[in-house]
């Protein structure tokens, strides 16, 4: 009975709206754009921040990464020094690694890395690569996967063995025809036996997008024991660039410090900072704290959402005002109808209901179309561009219910002004 009546009232509302199809459609447009933009913008924002967070998470939220950088003074003197060759001595030292392991609480393990640019030679193939001198715990700390063979062992480290692990993509280029395992490749003056193939963390798609960096694929890496790297390559690394020598003495290029839990990370950040300030005169290092970056990313996302939300809210309100405007005009136009209905027994609340239902039908109808458009647009965007879009269910519910709410809020005034018309005046209205 009540359901029947509700259906009847909604039918009546739709009938009245269909009497002016063009007007109703234009009125809904405001809400359609509003709802659509809420969902689409939030989806694209969500997608962007998701990607940022994934990138950061890959660095490990239990980690602090310390990198050697060339201090600012060295950079300036290097550029003004002409052909003068000199050795820039900077960066993280083995002692730093020892101090961190020894004095900072909560440290699980420490992963040192030495990165040297060199060419790898096998048979006719000569490929520029990054030689990474590191410890056996590299795969577990970076999430890299051993595809074949094994990674470097502590025995290799202890014996300064001439063994290496290469990335899968390098293996494909270096050994197009044979099995790389147990083959010997040349790096600089020495030969190294390939003992395993490794796949760095990350999806195939991302690798394809990352493209070339200085003419070499990002993951054309060769991993050798750190001790081997020290003894074979020495501490001074010579970069030949554009006719001038540029040598630098860097003990470690990167140090990844893994903690047992995120709380220890936060406690350790100031401690490591003061440790480095004490032992480094210049700022020849930088910290990357993924946990903090993650927090920042979340904060940024929150602000982003608020800004987007406000813009969308404004457009919804504008849509609501559009509806109110049209409904006020409708009430004036249908004054006679209101009078007739009142004469035939309609109470004030019946008139309120009738006009409120019409506005709500308008705004919900607009909301429904807006939801559809708002779901389709992000899908199209992520299909045709690299941008990722994530449609969250709460944004759909939020946008849809706000559209309904707007119908009610902006419908109340026109509806009550219709209901408060004097029946006789309304009947007399031309």
């Amino acid at each position: 009975m009540i359901a029947y009546r509700a259906i009847r009232i909604v039918q009546l509302g739709i009938k009245s709206l269909l009497l002016h199809k063009m007007r109703s459609a234009l009125t809904m447009l405001g809400i359609i754009f509003g709802v659509c933009s809420v969902i689409a913008m939030l989806a694209i924002g969500e997608g962007a921040s998701y990607e940022a967070q994934e990138t950061i998470k890959k660095l490990g939220s239990n980690n602090i990464i310390i990198r050697s950088i060339k201090p600012p003074e060295d950079t300036s003197s290097g550029s003004s020094g002409g052909r003068r060759s000199y050795v820039s001595e900077h960066g993280i030292t083995y002692k730093d690694a020892g101090r961190i392991q020894g004095t900072i609480p909560g440290v699980g393990s420490v992963l040192p890395m030495r990165i040297i640019r060199e060419n790898v030679i096998f048979d006719q193939n000569n490929i520029p690569v990054q030689v990474i001198g590191t410890h056996p715990n590299y795969p577990e700390m970076t999430g890299a996967a051993i595809m074949r063979g094994r990674f470097l062992s502590s025995t290799d480290e202890g014996r300064q063995a001439n063994v290496c692990v290469i990335t899968v993509s390098l293996a494909e280029r270096l050994f197009p025809y044979q099995d790389p395992i147990e083959e010997e490749v040349r790096l600089g003056a020495d030969y190294y036996q390939v003992v395993g193939l490794l796949q760095e963390q990350g999806t195939e798609k991302q690798r394809a997008q990352s493209g070339n960096m200085e003419g070499q694929p990002l993951d054309s890496n060769i991993y050798i024991p750190l001790s081997t790297a020290r003894s074979r390559f020495g501490e001074v690394v010579i970069n030949r660039s554009a006719g001038s020598f540029n040598a630098e003495k860097v003990e470690l290029h990167q140090l990844t410090v893994q903690f047992h839990n995120p709380e220890s990370v936060e406690a350790a950040v100031p401690q490591i900072e003061s440790l480095f300030q004490r032992f480094h005169k210049r700022k020849d290092y930088e910290f990357i704290v993924p946990l903090q970056l993650l927090r920042q990313a979340e904060q940024t996302k929150r602000i982003f959402n608020i800004v987007l939300g406000s813009i969308a809210a404004i457009s919804l309100i504008v849509g609501g005002i559009g509806i109110m405007n049209i409904m006020l005009a409708t009430v004036t136009e249908r004054t006679r109808e209101i009078g007739v209905r009142r004469a035939l027994g309609a109470k004030k609340k019946d008139i309120i209901t009738q006009f409120l239902v019409e506005t709500v039908v308008l705004s919900f109808g607009g909301g429904l179309i807006g939801v559809m458009a708002g779901v389709i647009i992000p899908l199209l965007v992520s299909h045709f561009t690299d941008m990722k879009a994530i449609i969250t269910w709460w944004s759909v519910i939020l946008a849809f219910s706000i559209s309904g709410l707007i119908g009610v809020v902006f419908g109340i005034y026109p509806a009550s002004s219709a209901a408060n018309l004097d029946p006789i005046d309304a009947l007399r209205h031309e």
Binding site: M1, Y4, R5, R8, L12, K15, S16, L18, L19, R336, E337, G339, V340, R341, R342, A343, L344, G345, A346, K347, K348, K349, D350, P423, I424, L427
Partner: protein
Amino acid sequence: MTGKPIISIKGLEKLYILGEVEVRALRGVSVDIEEGSYVAIMGPSGSGKSTMLNVLGCLDRPTAGQYFLGDENVATMGDDELSDIRGRRLGFIFQSYNLIHQLTVVENIYVPLFYQGKDLKDYERHCERLANLVGLGERLDHRPKQLSGGQQQRVAIARSLVNDPLMILADEPTGNLDSKTGTEVLNLMDKLNEAGKTIVLVTHGPEVAERAHRVLHMKDGVIDREVINRKFEPRKQANSDWLSAIEESLGLKTP
């Protein structure tokens, strides 16, 4: 039960206050209207006819005086009660038809029932029967725009009957019609009265007023004089099936 006054008005006054000016549209009207009678109200423009009809139709509350409709004291009712009594006990016929143009003929006839919470599906037959009664049985799904003035007014008559009202109020129902269609409409109203419906009608035309039992002549907000055209014979008993009676007198087969 029959013959007793269905409307009893005593000392009815209506005051309109327009800023400084007070307009006394009704200044002490007393009249009884018997059930089943046909009453016409005449008078010069501004004499208070419409005001009188609005009060009778419970669209307006009197400033002073008593108004009993049946056994209900209308003068003291609130807005919702007035709406309710209009919907349950009164039928309106307006000069300008006042159909709702987004609705079909049947839906227009059904409107008063809707506000009494009655389902169209239970009353669709009834509405169609009324449409048939006023000669629009073939046009149930037409919209008002597709109908002539006379046809629209006949839909309005059907609508005024749908709630089986105590009384039908008509404010110059033929004012917008040519004389031929006007006569048809008035003939139809005669049939309603013959079948027992009480009718109060405002008119400017003496030939229209002649159809009524009584003519109340108003002047300056009072009933100036009353003319009895023909004697009203109250029925011996209430005509419970007035609809069939009209159908019979019109030569319509009960569908």
